[in-house]
Every structure is written in C-alpha cells, then in structure tokens.
C-alpha cells in the first residue's frame, strides 16, 4: 500500500518536474533574448540577416572550443591549452597539406589526430601523474604554442593554392538567397554541438564524464577505470579542438602560428556563463552554446552601436555578470 502511494505521488511530481524543467530551459535563453531585442531596438543595422550570420560565424570557433572544454570542466578539470592547441592542429594540418602535399582529407585527419594526441597527453598527466589540470594544461599551452611557432617557422602557412580548403568553413551548403547563406563553419559548429550533446547525455562516455566530476572516488570504487575515462575526455576535447583548428585555418585560409593564446579563456567563459560549474558534475551543451552566443552577440552589438572600445570592455564585463546572475536567479527557483 505504502508503495502504491509513493508511486502515485511520484507520477504527479514527475509531471510537475518535467514541465518546470522545460520552463527552465526556455528561460535559459532569456539573457540572450534580452540582448538581441535590446540591440535590435538600439540599431536598425543589428537585426539583419547578414549580421545575424556574422554573429553566428563569429561564435563558431569559440563555440566549438567551448563545447570541447565543457566536457573537461564537467569532469571537474580545466584545459588552458585549447587555444594554442587549436593553433597547433591548424599548423599541422597546413603542414600536411601545403608542405607535404598530402590530400586535404589527410590534412583534416592530421589536425584531429594532433588534437587527440595533445589532449590525450594532458589527460595522462592529469590522470596518471596526478598533476593538477591547471598545471598540466598550462604546460601543454606553452608546449603547443612554442611548437606551432617552431613548426611553422613563425610564419603563417597559406592555403592559397588550395581554395577547396577555404570552402570547408566559408562555403555554404545551405544557400537561401544571395544574402542569406549559412556558411559551413556555422553548420559544423551546430553539428559538433548536436553530436556532443548526444554523446554527453546519451552515452556511457557522457555518463562517466558527469560521474567523475561528481565524485571520482565513488566512481573508481564502482569498478570503473576512471583514469582511462579521464584521458578519454581530454583526448575527446582535443579532437574537438582539432575541428576548431580546421575551422579557423580554413576561414583565414592560413594557419597563423601566433594566434590562439587567450582563446581558452573566452571558451571557458562561455562554458561558465552557460551554467556549467567549475567544480564539475554538471553542465549542458545548450548552456555552453548560449554562453558562446551571449559573448559574441554582446561584442557584435556593442560594435554595431559604435561604442568606444574601452566602454565596450566595461559594458561587456557588466553584462556578463548580469546575464549569469539572471541565470542563477532562474535556477534558484
């Protein structure tokens, strides 16, 4: 009898639960929507197809990096090397295609493989050598930064002779009108996000990612090789970073070996704005995407309004705080 009663209340509560969850999800967009509405009212130039596409394109690389590092942050770790690692993957890809004259697809594989190796190495340092992720990936940051410069001889490697490479990011599979073409980079970004979201929520890998962030020792004592999975998470993030490397190299038609430093902070910021906790165990891809969009919308909007740069910086700081605060209020309810 008691059991029946519990089951009953369970059902009722569950409905309430899911519907409030749905509301929560919609509300998560509120900061972004407020921003978009605000900018649209402030400038007629903001809410234009071309500009919206520009915003999406500006979000793409940072968004992909953020999706990757989100996995690591959910395990309770951090990766400071993603920016410069992205550079290295771009440089390696260029090296393979331009200097070794390998087919483009091999160049893409090289980029992703480079990411997997570097990420995996960070993972080994964290999981096996028990280095704090901050240090392991700071080391990897310096390592990949230096290596990019060395391999590229501190000069960009241009894809001028490989116009197809540029099409990876800048071509458009979906062309609606002349003005309304969604560049592939944006599609790649969404594809990475969707695949990652599925992996994070629907696979064992995703489960372990959350579980390790929640209580690693309990997971280990459940007979799971947590070290292996942690390495896998860093390597997986590396693979995604490789995708970002391809995206940026193809957008710029060149691998720029000096670029990349600082991109990690933007990506981590997107993740945290998106509600992932730095102490691990929780986070969503949707949140991360929203976080990335908040940053790029903000940047774009303030520029459209021709706000002087120093005021742009101040305003960005204030709005990020406000957006996250809104999100916290939403969750508290």
């Amino acid at each position: 009898m008691a059991t029946a009663a519990t089951v009953k209340t369970e059902g009722a509560q569950k409905d309430a639960f899911t519907s409030s969850q749905a509301k929560q999800k919609i509300l998560a967009f509120s900061s972004l929507v407020i921003l978009i509405v605000g900018f649209s009212l402030a400038s007629p130039n903001f809410f234009q197809p071309a500009n919206l596409i520009a915003i999406m394109l500006a979000t793409a690389v940072n968004g992909v990096l953020a999706v990757g590092v989100n996995f690591i942050i959910i395990t309770g770790g951090i990766d400071l090397s993603i920016g410069t690692m992205m550079t290295l993957t771009a440089v390696m890809s260029a090296q393979a295609i331009v200097n070794w004259h390998l087919p483009i697809w091999v160049g893409l594989a090289v980029a992703i493989l480079t990411g997997v190796i570097c990420g995996g190495l960070s993972g080994v340092m964290v999981a096996k050598l028990k280095l704090p992720p901050f240090i392991a990936t700071l080391g990897m940051n310096l390592f990949t930064k230096g290596l990019s410069l060395i391999i590229a001889h501190s000069k960009p490697i241009y894809f001028s002779d490989y116009p197809a490479y540029n099409q990876i990011s800048m071509g458009s599979l979906f062309t609606f009108t002349e003005d309304f073409q969604i560049p592939n980079a944006v599609l790649i970004f969404f594809a990475v996000a969707i695949v990652s979201a599925i992996i994070l929520t629907k696979t064992t890998f995703g489960r372990y990612t959350f579980a390790i962030g929640s209580n690693e020792e309990a997971v280990r004592l459940s007979g799971i090789d947590t070290d292996k999975w942690k390495i896998a998470v860093y390597a997986f993030c590396g693979a995604i970073v490789g995708v970002a490397g391809i995206m940026i190299a193809s957008r710029l038609s060149s691998a720029q070996p000096a670029l990349g430093q600082g991109y990690e902070l933007d990506a981590i910021a997107a993740v945290v704005i998106g509600g992932t906790s730095m102490s691990g165990g929780e986070g969503t891809i949707l949140g991360t995407i929203i976080g990335a969009f908040i940053i790029s919308t903000l940047t774009n909007g303030l520029r459209i309004l021709s706000v002087p740069q120093e005021w742009q910086i101040v305003t960005t700081g204030a709005i990020i705080i406000f957006a996250v605060y809104l999100d916290i209020l939403r969750r508290r309810k």
Binding site: A2, T204, Y208, A218, D225
Partner: protein
C-alpha cells in the same frame, strides 16, 4: 516537571517535491533525553535542522522558554544555546582536530590579534581526556577514520556548553565501548539540566538512554511515549506501521561448499598483516572487530582500492591479479563502502545513475549509447525492492535522507549482480524496518549462491547473520568462529587480542 524548554507547534517544511514536515509538534524539557525515532526519510533531520537554524520553517512556531523565537541561521541557534551534531559530518578536513572544535571561538594570545595555538590544543586535549578519546589535537581531520571524526564532532558540540544539545545519529560510526563513553557523557549532561534530543536507528540504545521517545512517520508526528510506559515492539510498530518479524540466527553451513574467495598472506604497511581467509559459495562471512581493527582496510585492499605490499587472491580457485577496483569488479567482487558520502555515491547525480554506476558496461548498447530504458527498469525494480524513498528516479542523491542514500548504494551492487560482495557496515544509519529488509536480502543473496562478506561493528547483527565469523584486531586476523560457537564474549576476547598482549602472554608462559 518544569516548564518546557522548547515547544514546536504545527511546523511545516517543504522541499521541491517533498513535504518533509507536516504539522509537527514536539517539546523538550530541561534535563531530559528525548529520543526521536522514525524510518529513513521520516523528517527527523529536517526537524532538527529547522530548530538549529539551518533550514527555515514554512509555517508553524518554535517557542523557547515559552517565547516564540526566530532562528534565522546557525549562529542564532548557538546564541540561543542550541548546539547540534549533524547526521553528516561537517568538518574541515584540512584543519586539525583542535582547530575544528574551536572554529569561530579561537582563543587569542596576549596581543589579542594572533591565535593561541597552544591553548587551543591544550583545551582540545582536555576535552578529549574528559571523554577518554585518544586523538592528537594536532592531527588533521582528513587523516582520521570516520569514527574518530565523529568523536571530534561530538566534542565540538559539547564544547559549546549548550542548554539544548541535538545529536543526530551520533553513534552510527561508533563501537560499543565508545557508545558507552558517550552515554556516560549524556547522563552527566542530563544531570546538569541540559536537554538532549537524540536520534538513532539503534533500537537497543533507546531504552538505555531516553526518558521520552517521539515517533515520526512520513513527516508526521505519531506519538510521544514515556520510556517506562512502553516497550520496543510498540515503538517499532508505531515507526513502521506494522510489526517486524525478526530473522532467525544462522546455522553452520555444510563444510563441503566450494570456496569462492581465498585470500593468502595479504600485507599492507602497518594496517594489514598476513591476512588469510576463505569465503564459500552461499556463505555470509562476518568480519568482527573494534574500530580501526583493519576490516575496512582489508576489504579495500582485496577490492583493489588500495595497493598491497604482498598477498595472493583466488577467485573460484583461480589466482587473480587485482590492482584496481575495475579488476575486482571484473572478477565478480563488489564492495559497499562504509563511508557512503565519500566513496559510495555521487551526491550530485540522480538515483538512476547512481544505481547503474557499477554496471554501465551492461547498460551500454550500440555505439556507446546508454540503454536508458534498461537502467530505468533496473533502478525502478530496486527502488521498489529496497523501498527507497525518493520522489523520482531523477532525484539527486543529496536530497535523499541518509538511510535512503545507503539503500541506493546497495541497489548499485545488486544491479551489478556480483558473486562476491563485501558489505562494509551495510546497515549504518538505516532504520529498523529497512535493517530487517537488508538482513533478509543478505540471506536471500546467500541462498542464491552469492558469497557475502559482512563487516559490521554491531555484534548482534554479526551474530544473527553470519555463518562464520572472522575477528580482526590491529590489522591481524585473531580468530575464526563458526556460527554455533560464536558469542559476544568470545568475539570481544578475540577482538581485543592485541599483539603486545599476545607477546606479553607468550613471554610469561616462557618464564613459567
């Protein structure tokens, strides 16, 4: 009797999805021990947290000395003279025992600026001495076993000199000797007029220490009984709403059962010395011993959670190498830890995920996808089987009561379906009804041919369930008893057979 010190009237408290306290009333007189009992999730801890300022009531009234009071935060409660030992440990692992006790009340040196570490340590040492606890005040809390950590919590609560002392399951990690010390202290405090609210699932304690007993069920007040005017069966029936049949003690198993697990010459630093034993198919092997005897260490070492210096492990007659818990689980060994919060559950994750955690391999389908339906089915079955009280399978473990968390851990290993299961203090913090359920579950598992190794500090439990009992002391196995020869006295004798004493005895025989 004098005026009541605390009166609680019509108190309500809800959490999302849970109406935890429904029109609760409660009163407390100076100089009494008022025990609060109820099943896991009945709302005992919640009520105490409202009284001690951790949670805010939704409605109702709390009167102190007849006057309504607001208790907005723990500090306010402290000021009103209410001190609490929480069910979960609330200690700063990186600080020393003494620093933990005096947090917020640190004595200063003559300058009035700097902390006086010596006085802190001295005062802590005095308190420990008073309770006959052997803890170095300068040792970091994180390095103590939970039993010792619990002692520190108790000392801390006592050190406030409160008028009202709330103890939420203070004895769950303690052994009998320590419980005796604690009761001595409680009696002492009672005679000084301190009012004590005491919560425990150990029914034998109720009648030894309480003056009155209040029973709660499903967040509701059931009844308050005077100890002299009631008996245990009555209390239990009020608690669970039905009577509980007690399982019969075990009998010896036939000697010809196949050996499932054999451990030979296991050594690990100073903690484990030459551990060798066998466990048979269908057997419940009890591990008895005092706190710190090394039972947990032994289980962890066999399970691969800690590295070993030497030793061999055989499963089903074949030698296996276990370097990591995943090796152990692969060979069909499961381990249910005594410290669930740290080692058993991921508090931020839901019931479903926690219960599937050890069996994800089984629940992984095509391309690494989780078989969500299967997990849900398994979790649902076990929630029902173990009567785990949770609003949904998606409830996060941190919102479950302690006992229900423990049941989720059990569910995890049941779902894994291991052949050999270590249960380390499986009934710690579990209500009497659930305890019986767990006992019959252990019996069922054994009947189904599983090998159960049960570590417990509750001797009656060991005696009732075990087919065979192994006793440890100071990292060694000091003896083995069959169910028929085991008595409390014989176990205690083996459990206190310290090495130093053995040596001294040996010396004496030589002299003679």
């Amino acid at each position: 009797m004098a005026e009541p010190l605390i009166v609680v009237k019509n108190l309500n408290k809800s959490f999302p999805g849970v109406h935890a306290l429904k029109d609760i009333r409660f009163d407390l007189y100076p100089g009494e021990v008022h025990t609060l009992v109820g099943e896991n999730g009945a709302g005992k801890s919640t009520l105490m947290k409202v009284i001690s300022g951790v949670y805010q009531k939704d409605s109702g009234e709390i009167l102190l000395d007849g006057k309504p009071v607001a208790i907005p935060n723990p500090k306010a409660a402290q000021k009103l003279g209410i001190s609490i030992i929480h069910q979960e440990l609330n200690l700063m692992n990186h600080l020393t025992a003494a620093q933990n006790i005096f947090i917020g009340r640190e004595p200063k040196d003559r300058t009035g600026i700097f902390l006086d570490e010596r006085t802190i340590n001295k005062k802590a040492q005095e308190l420990f001495g008073l309770l006959k606890i052997d803890i170095d005040p300068r040792v970091k809390i994180g390095e103590l076993t939970i039993a010792k950590q619990q002692m520190v919590e108790i000392v801390k609560a006592l050190s406030y000199d409160a008028r009202v002392l709330i103890m939420d399951e203070p004895t769950s990690p303690l052994n009998d000797a320590e419980i005796e010390e604690l009761f001595g202290i409680i009696r002492d405090l009672r005679s000084k007029g301190v009012a004590i609210i005491y919560i425990s699932h150990r029914m034998d304690e109720l009648f030894r220490i309480s003056d009155r007993i209040t029973v709660m069920r499903d967040g509701q007040y059931v009844d308050t009984l005077k100890v002299g005017e009631t008996n245990l069966d009555h209390v239990i029936s009020l608690m669970v709403g039905r009577s509980i049949e007690v399982t019969a003690p075990q009998v010896d198993l036939g000697a010809n059962r196949p050996v499932m697990l054999e451990v030979r010459g296991l050594n690990r630093g100073k903690a484990l010395k030459d551990i060798s034993f066998t466990a048979k198919k269908g057997e419940i092997l009890g591990f008895a011993g005092l706190m710190g005897a090394g039972r947990t260490e032994a289980a962890r070492a066999i399970f691969g959670a800690d590295p070993i210096d030497s030793g061999e492990i055989f499963v089903n007659g074949a030698k296996v190498s276990i370097r990591h818990p995943c090796d152990a689980v692969r060979h069909g060994i499961g381990y249910l830890s005594e410290d669930r919060k740290r080692f058993g559950i991921a508090v931020g994750m839901d019931v479903e995920t926690n219960s599937a955690m050890a069996s994800m391999g089984r629940f992984t389908g095509f391309a690494g996808f989780v078989k969500r339906k299967d997990i849900r089915k398994a979790a649902e079955d076990h929630v029902a089987k173990l009567s785990i009280k949770t609003p949904s399978l998606q409830q996060k473990l941190k919102f479950l009561s302690g006992g229900n968390q423990q049941k989720v851990v059990i569910a995890k290993w049941l779902i894994r379906n291991c052949d050999i299961l270590f249960f380390d203090e499986p009934t710690r913090g579990i209500d009497i009804g659930a305890k019986q359920e767990i006992y019959s579950l252990l019996n069922e598992l054994a009947d189904a041919g599983k090998t159960i190794i049960m570590i417990s500090s509750e001797l009656p439990e060991i005696l009732r369930l075990s087919h065979r009992i192994i006793v440890m002391c100071e990292g060694r196995i000091t003896g083995e008893l069959s169910a028929s020869e085991a008595t409390q006295e014989r176990i205690m004798k083996l459990a206190t057979q310290r090495e130093t004493m053995v040596k001294a005895a040996a010396k004496q025989t030589v002299k003679e």
